[in-house]
């Protein structure tokens, strides 16, 4: 058993990027928020803010109470995506990135000559230096090295910020005993309670369970995987399959009515459809969701014959929307479900349907070339500025090429092209 995996986790990522880009924020508590509103909460906080009790998820009003000098900063997702790519380049200059886990986490596989503790430590320090050099000194990271990805992530979390920790095979399992159960990735609130129900209150107890006991607790094969992971074994990754593509958005106050919710949904549907096409999928179901309060959701879906074009999806959406209840919506979302890869889809026999798909793809191409919303369907005219880019835990939005964005700005000055929804 060797040290095969290095896990790199950027510290307080969004806040660190802001501190790097804005020197006046360095050394002061910073809270990054999705929109500048008192009702929202921090999506990232600097270590200075964390020391004052302001954490990710703390509401802004609470954060101000805990830390009156807190600097509230509006998130700039495109900047974080750009920096993410710079980080990848910097790491790649030292070792190959095996998997991008999220916008601020990557996993790398160490080569045969890098798997001894001294060599792995040297490689980790090389990565840290490259990040400082290429991305700036505010962008620190915690690095964990271990015989598998789960343990490498655990090791990375053991020393923050700017840490480096190795879990060697000989350290297992006793090095894990100091951890709490929720410190292990994959043990969330539900799993934590299930473990407690089975009398497991510590990592030591977890490590002492047999394969059969773990399978019973996890109610399946995942329990067996945990037995191997905790002992440092590497298991083949279970391939993931994309089943849906969707977007959701918390409505800003001015959009919290029927017209606003519809407009944002239309925008989200256009975004989701374009993303689906770019990834080479077709959908068989459109799902629309509207939250009227935390407990009151309206959900509706329409099954479709295989569909990829925005116009057909808009028609389906319009039919679904007719049944929406009255109320004050607070959050909306669309999901394209039951996806099928392009290579398994027979195109339509009928020219009109093929034209619709072709039109959607041409619009995608133009937007890729000249920037978002250079060309769009008329149905999105009133909502094209809504639902700006957001970064989820695992999905990193794609950015247009910088030169293309310049071209886009030029084009915008000249004209905006609006294509009518009707295909003649």
């Amino acid at each position: 058993m060797e040290l095969t995996t290095m896990f790199i986790d950027m510290n307080a990522y969004f806040a660190s990027v802001e501190q790097q880009m804005r020197p006046e924020l360095r050394g002061v508590p910073v809270g990054v928020v999705p929109v500048l509103a008192e009702s929202t909460c921090c999506i990232a906080t600097s270590y200075e803010a964390r020391r004052r009790g302001v954490k990710t998820g703390t509401p802004v009003y609470e954060a101000r109470r805990l830390c009156p000098e807190l600097r509230i900063v509006e998130a700039r997702p495109p900047l974080y995506v750009q920096t993410h790519h710079k980080i990848l380049d910097a790491i790649e200059s030292c070792l190959h990135v095996d998997a991008v886990m999220s916008i601020d986490e990557v996993s790398c596989r160490l080569m045969a000559g890098e798997r001894r503790p001294a060599q792995a430590t040297g490689k980790a320090l090389e990565v840290k230096a490259a990040l400082r050099r290429e991305c700036g000194r505010c962008l620190t990271c915690s690095i964990g090295v271990a015989p598998n990805r789960l343990l490498a992530k655990v090791a990375g979390n053991m020393e923050k910020p700017d840490g480096l920790m190795l879990i060697e095979p000989r350290d297992l399992p006793h090095k894990l005993y100091a951890l709490e159960l929720p410190d292990l990735p994959g043990i969330g609130a539900g799993m934590f309670h299930r473990l407690r129900y089975h009398g497991v209150h510590s990592v030591k107890q977890l490590c002492e369970l047999s394969v059969a006991e773990l399978k019973e607790i996890w109610n399946g094969i995942v329990g067996e995987r945990w037995w191997y992971w905790l002992r440092g074994h590497e298991l083949p990754e279970v391939p993931t399959k994309r089943r849906s593509i969707g977007h959701s958005h918390v409505l800003p106050p001015e959009y919290r009515d029927e017209t606003g919710a519809r407009a944002v949904l239309v925008r989200l549907l256009h975004k989701a459809a374009a993303r689906m096409r770019s990834k080479g999928y077709w959908t068989r179901r459109l799902h629309v969701r509207v939250a009227y309060s935390p407990r009151k959701w309206w959900k509706a879906y329409q099954n479709l014959e295989l569909c990829q074009d925005t116009i057909t999806l808009m028609e389906a959406f319009s039919r679904l929307w007719q049944a929406h209840p009255a109320g004050r919506p607070s959050k909306v979302g669309v999901v394209l479900e039951r996806l099928v890869a392009q290579c398994y889809v027979a195109p339509s026999l009928f020219t009109e349907e093929r034209k619709r798909v072709r039109l959607s793809r041409i619009i995608d191409d133009l937007n890729a070339r000249f920037g978002e919303n250079a060309v769009y369907l008329g149905s999105m005219h009133n909502s094209r500025g809504t639902a700006p880019m957001r970064i989820s835990f695992t999905n990193i939005p794609e950015l247009p090429d910088p030169d293309i964005r310049k071209a886009d700005r030029r084009i915008r000055r000249w004209r905006q092209v609006v294509v009518t929804d009707q295909v003649s």
Binding site: E305, A316, V345, A346, P347
Partner: protein, 372 residues
């Protein structure tokens, strides 16, 4: 109403009309069956709001004429579970009372006045066609109708009358099936109507008086917004689908450069075997045609692959083309020919599966690209 009915005949009739009552509806009366005892028989009616079906059962006796409306999902299981040869049905304003040997059931009834009226078959029919012929045409096409689409017109089946022939056409956009037959008698001009797939399904499943009972005719009346079919005392009515059916003639290939002839059972078996290693998200098989050999391959990502070889008579340059196996299977399991002809051109153009006579049946399928 008070009557005694033969249980088995009544159950069969109830089963037939109940095909229209099972759907989800906000109108409870559409989940009911209307029973009308008059003369020497009891007429059963049901409707889903679009299609309606009426048929009769000869009564053993009718003591009191009248009509009641009973929830089908209550009545049918009771009739099924009774083991008597005869059952007694009677009703008052609140209940339908069903009596068998040692059993008695009371079901709340609804007001017959609220039951949607079903159209009468009046005047002379516009068309008469052999019932088995019409059922064959529907079986050969119905599977290709769209089930879930935003284009309502292709959720229906197109009936196209052209002189002495009737064509039935269905498509879901990626395949198209057309079957044709000769009408026995026609007193109307040419027409095109789109009939909901559900009504066609009801026809195929329950409309024939007795399955394989020999010759039987269907009288057809076409009106501006509905069509009515009658055979004996059975009447099926349905509203028509509004909208334009796609110009299907344009998608039927006019030329081919390759032709394969293969036994229907041989091809069906091979397609079924190859399809075992496809998944719901990767429904595609590859057909490689050579002079005497057809090789069908498939691949299920992360699971495995399959290769099936069958003899074929093939004319033209070798060709490899991908199809959705479900599309092939749907047609092959219903077509009545021993040998099928597959006309092909290029691997990105539609293929045509057919019998000797194109007018009798043809099936156009769009290939999948199979490129990643």
């Amino acid at each position: 109403m008070k009557t005694i009915l033969p249980r088995q005949e009544f159950q069969d009739a109830l089963n037939a009309v109940a095909t229209l009552t099972g759907g989800r509806t906000t109108r409870p009366i559409l989940g009911c069956v209307k029973l009308n005892a008059a003369g020497e028989q009891v007429e059963l009616s049901a409707t889903d709001g679009e299609a309606g079906l009426r048929l009769s059962v000869p009564a053993l006796s009718i003591e009191k004429e009248g009509e009641i409306v009973v929830p089908a999902d209550r009545l049918l299981p009771i009739i099924r579970e009774l083991e008597d040869v005869e059952i007694s049905l009677e009703s008052d304003e609140r209940y339908c009372i069903i009596k068998g040997e040692g059993s008695e059931f009371h079901i709340f009834v609804m007001d017959p006045v609220d039951f949607p009226p079903l159209p009468e078959f009046e005047d002379e029919p516009d068309l008469i066609i052999d019932g088995n012929e019409l059922r064959r045409m529907i079986s050969l096409t119905l599977y290709a109708a769209a089930r879930e689409t935003s284009r309502y017109a292709i959720n229906g089946v197109l009936w196209e009358k052209h002189d002495k022939r009737l064509f039935v056409i269905a498509t879901d956009g990626r395949r198209l099936a057309r079957a044709g037959g000769v009408v026995s008698k026609s007193s109307s001009g040419n027409f095109e109507v789109i009939i909901p797939a559900k009504a066609m399904s009801v026809f195929e499943r329950v409309f024939a008086p007795v399955r394989d009972a020999g010759d039987w005719d269907v009288q057809i009346k076409v009106m501006p917004n509905q069509v009515i079919l009658r055979t004996g005392d059975r009447i099926l009515s349905t509203v028509l689908v509004e909208g334009n059916f796609p110009k299907y003639d344009d998608v039927i290939p006019k030329e081919h450069s390759k032709r394969a002839r293969i036994g229907r059972d041989v091809l069906l078996g091979a397609v079924k075997r190859a399809a075992l290693l496809t998944t719901e998200d990767s429904r595609a098989i590859k057909l490689a045609f050579e002079e005497e050999l057809l090789v069908i391959t498939s691949q299920a990502p992360e699971q495995g692959d399959a290769r099936v070889e069958v003899p074929v008579s093939y004319e033209g340059e070798p060709l490899t083309i991908g199809f959705n196996p479900v599309f092939l299977n749907d047609a092959l399991r219903v077509i009545p020919f021993e040998e099928v002809i597959i006309d092909l051109h290029e691997n990105f153009r539609p293929g045509v599966l057919r019998g000797e006579d194109k007018n009798e049946f043809l099936y156009v399928i769009m290939p999948v690209s199979l490129s990643t």
